[in-house]
């Protein structure tokens, strides 16, 4: 695989540092988030909304799909992405069926799957970009656009549903001013509704990052969100 030598400050790859010349999505962006096609076409129901509508994905080429996303990476970041990727990919050399773990690792690193990363993974695994995209878009876990710093997940599993999870979600939506699947303008919060966390006995449940909050009420939701502001 090609390896790029990073130039300029922050080239040590120790983390994504703000880029001075170009403003990019991964380091710092002033671009107002015009929500991507995936987000804006979310259906009103269902938990795995980040999955792209199958008809839509069929009519879009991978390039066109990414072009619609608010991703603009500066060269520096691209180089860092490639450097970090090489490390991740090296771990999986020669392993059968490693695509999903690779995607998980990459997302863990960058918070989403940058376009550049997808094309590198495609080269590595000798698959086409559209195949990689096909797999990634099937699973609810993967994102193609930058996410907020904190991910708020409101559980709407059966137990949470009968105990009023929908009302908690409504409250969080109002509080953050975004729909489920969306990200706030300041990239502070992303909101998701999920199907079940397995903490049903404490329903309704809300999860922020890795902290699980049980026995939620509308008032409690407000207070907890305030802690993260």
């Amino acid at each position: 695989m090609r390896s790029f030598k990073a130039a300029g400050e922050g080239a040590d790859g120790a983390g994504l540092k703000p880029c001075t010349t170009l403003r990019c999505t991964a380091c710092f962006s002033r671009i107002q988030p015009t929500f991507c096609t995936v987000n804006s076409r979310r259906s009103a129901v269902g938990s795995h909304e980040s999955r792209v509508d199958s008809r839509e994905s069929a009519s879009l080429t991978v390039k066109a799909f990414f072009a619609k996303l608010p991703n603009q990476l500066c060269k520096l970041t691209v180089n860092i992405v490639q450097g970090e990727l090489a490390e991740i990919l090296a771990e999986y050399k020669g392993e059968k069926g490693a695509l999903i773990p690779i995607l998980q690792k990459v997302q863990e690193k960058f918070g989403y799957l940058p376009e550049k990363a997808v094309s590198e993974i495609a080269k590595f695994s000798r698959m086409s970009e559209s195949e990689i995209f096909g797999v990634a878009s099937f699973y609810a876990q993967f994102y193609f656009a930058r996410r907020g710093e904190h991910t708020v997940k409101v559980c709407l599993g059966t137990a949470c549903h009968v105990r009023g999870g929908e009302r908690i979600l409504d409250e969080v939506k109002r509080e953050l001013g975004i729909e489920s699947g969306g990200t706030t303008e300041d990239y502070k919060f992303s909101l998701e509704r999920v199907a079940c966390f397995g903490s049903c006995a404490l329903a309704p449940v809300m999860v922020i990052d890795k902290n699980v909050y049980g026995r939620m009420t509308i008032a409690k939701a407000k207070d907890i969100l305030a802690e993260y502001h």
Partner: protein, 636 residues
């Protein structure tokens, strides 16, 4: 190292812990315990112990299953039985350390019960409590008692004795033993485990695979999570036994990424097994090699279906394929593969440890053994339970679950997740086993049991399940892809008050078509909620369609909120809390809700002081209220 040596080392560690001169504190720190604040409790206890200069052994254990009382701790003072305390706060926990460990007051007011032989005044025996008495905890026997991160605790409690026994038997004899036990798949379908193993063993081909399905996707179910968090080795032992019986050298555990703690404990457990020579090459000098890889799910419900799960392990889109060929003949990478649920594996280990005859004493004629259920929803005592098969639904809900929350009326119990059905009060006496539940139109499923009370709208609940299965449908086969969408559309119309005569018949027709023609289990069972609710709660559908009324006052488009002028005291609490500022009024003025602005969130009803009870929720009727705020006491 020989197993005898490992075993005696484990026993001595366990015994020295039991006879320790220091008090022991067990903190229930599974995911649900943590969500309830167990880690805060742990911190408070540690702080208090240091301050008081008391030495104690603290162990983080799995879930005891009494989730309603989380966070919980157990305290064992040398010479006394273990006492379990529940509903603690950090402050109470610190106080408890002070009272019991320092001043010798066991605080019966905070205790749930004791475990052991000798009695403690004022505290009941935990296992004699109504919530635990009907339960038979053999799969969950270690959960809440052993340290799940210490393999020695498991080994000291009969752990891996089943594997040792199995390695001395022929594979055929092991499968015979499993067949004799009557064990059936705990993932929900209930296929005979012994037969499944047998067909994979006899399938042609040298390379075979074993998979443990821990992709517990049913909303409302967490049995597998609790078991993996509380006693991971019991599952792993079963997997190794199965691999030996079938002749597989590679295994996979497919666990959903939403269970980080379970994944962490599995990884640790595998590492410990390796150190003890219980996994890897030449396991316990038997010449048998077996390796396990953990695969994290990526958030797709359909991956709980076996063929979709295997596609996902192969790194593809998790879409099912038609069967036959069954995985036992052609599974992962086209090789014979045996896939079982977490609980099935744990059962298999137990059967080898204690024998099939012992195991078969539990359960009913055709459904042997016990089953774990996640009893949740509108019951008083939510939790993780384990009961012998054949127990009735009523016993589970009323004896173990303590009845319906806040003394309300029972409406339905939902078993089997989105693939199961909703059973009404008339089925409360029917036994919980594979055949009876199927006959009632539901399924056993993996063990979610969600109780709905009179405030649950069955049409809305069905819509909820359909919206779930519709979103999770992988899109491969049209019956499921199109059928679930169409059924959901009709249900949405009905709950919005736009139902038409003939909708029910149309739903039934669609449901039966999807059931018969869908490719995989997800599609074939997705119509079950529709069919069972129409069968048992047809009147609710009719009320929505014909009278545009939601009897349970749930469907937002069919309900409205009013402030009753004769009860409102003009306190302004609801006015201030309304998120959309739909309430007008003022001090000592009767408040009025602007029906056009109201989003029907119900906040006003929640915050109105019970002594006033001035907010009314109605459906299908209008209450005459003033249009403008008027002074209190004036007649309308």
């Amino acid at each position: 190292m020989a197993f005898e040596e490992i075993h005696s080392r484990a026993i001595s560690e366990w015994e020295s812990l039991q006879s320790s001169s220091k008090p022991r504190i067990l903190v229930g720190a599974g995911t649900c315990g943590r969500a309830a604040g167990a880690l805060g409790i742990l911190e408070a206890i540690n702080k208090e112990l240091t301050q008081r200069k008391v030495e104690a052994v603290i162990t983080q254990v799995g879930c005891l299953g009494l989730c309603y009382a989380e966070p919980m701790i157990g305290i064992i003072k040398p010479g006394y039985p273990q006492i379990i305390y529940g509903n603690l706060t950090p402050k109470l926990a610190a106080q408890l350390i002070d009272d019991y460990l320092v001043s010798d007051n066991p605080r019966p007011d905070l205790a749930l019960g004791y475990i052991g032989d000798s009695k403690i005044n004022g505290i009941p025996n935990l296992f004699e409590l109504p919530v635990l008495k009907p339960q038979v905890r053999i799969i969950l026997r270690n959960c809440g008692f052993i340290d799940p991160e210490n393999i020695n605790h498991y080994i000291a409690n009969e752990g891996y004795s089943g594997l040792v026994k199995a390695l001395k038997m022929t594979p055929e004899a092991i499968i015979e033993e499993i067949k004799k036990s009557g064990l059936r798949g705990r993932g929900g379908a209930g296929f005979s485990t012994g037969q499944k193993w047998d067909s994979c063993r006899t399938a042609p081909g040298g390379e075979k695979y074993i998979i443990c399905n821990a992709d517990e996707g049913d909303p409302g179910a967490f049995m597998n999570r609790a078991l993996l968090e509380g006693d991971p080795h019991s599952v792993l032992e079963g997997i190794v036994i199965g691999a030996y019986a079938i002749g597989a050298n590679q295994g996979y555990i497919y666990c959903r990424a939403e269970y980080p703690l379970a994944l962490e404990r599995l990884r640790l457990a595998l590492h410990q097994m390796e150190e003890c020579g219980l996994i890897g090459d030449n396991i316990l000098d038997s010449g048998f090699n077996f390796h396990i890889k953990i695969k994290e799910g990526a958030g797709a419900f359909v991956c709980g279906e076996e063929t979709a799960l295997m596609a996902s392990i192969e790194g593809k889109r998790g879409m099912p394929r038609p069967r036959p060929p069954f995985p036992a003949i052609s599974g992962l990478w086209g090789k014979p593969t045996n896939i079982n649920n977490v609980e099935t594996w744990a059962n298999a280990a137990l059967i080898l440890q204690r024998g099939s005859e012992w195991y078969a004493q539990y359960g009913s004629e055709r459904s042997k053994g016990t089953k774990t259920f996640a009893l949740v929803g509108k019951v008083e005592l939510t939790g993780l339970i384990e009961v012998p098969l054949g127990i009735t639904l009523g016993e589970i809900i009323y004896d173990i679950g303590g009845g319906i929350l806040k003394g309300k009326g029972f409406k339905a119990v939902q078993t089997g997740g989105p693939s199961g059905g909703c059973l009404p009060a008339s089925m409360l006496n029917s036994p919980v086993d594979y055949e009876s539940l199927t006959a009632a139109g539901s399924i056993m499923g993996s063990g979610g049991m969600i109780v709905a009370d009179e405030d649950t709208c069955m049409v809305d609940l069905t819509k909820y399940f359909l919206s779930f299965t519709q979103a999770e449908s992988c899109g491969k086969c049209p019956p499921c892809r199109v059928g679930t969408r169409q059924m959901l559309g009709i249900l949405e119309r009905i709950t919005q008050g736009e139902g038409k005569p003939g909708d029910i018949e149309q739903l039934e027709k669609l449901a039966n078509t999807v059931k018969q023609s869908a490719l995989c289990g997800l599609g074939q069972t997705a119509p079950n909620p529709v069919l069972t609710t129409i069968r048992y709660f047809r009147d609710e559908y009719e009320a929505h369609i014909n009278e545009k009324r939601c009897p349970a006052l749930v469907c937002k488009d069919l309900i409205s909120f009013y402030i009753l002028p004769d009860k409102c005291q003009g306190c302004m609490i609801c006015l201030r809390n309304c998120p959309v500022e739909a309430i007008s009024g003022g001090k000592r003025l009767v408040h009025v809700i602007d029906q056009d602005k109201c989003v029907k969130c119900g906040t006003c009803l929640d915050v109105c002081p019970p002594r006033f009870a001035a907010v009314a929720k109605v459906s299908g009727e209008q209450i005459e209220v003033p249009q403008q705020p008027t002074p209190i006491g004036k007649s309308v």
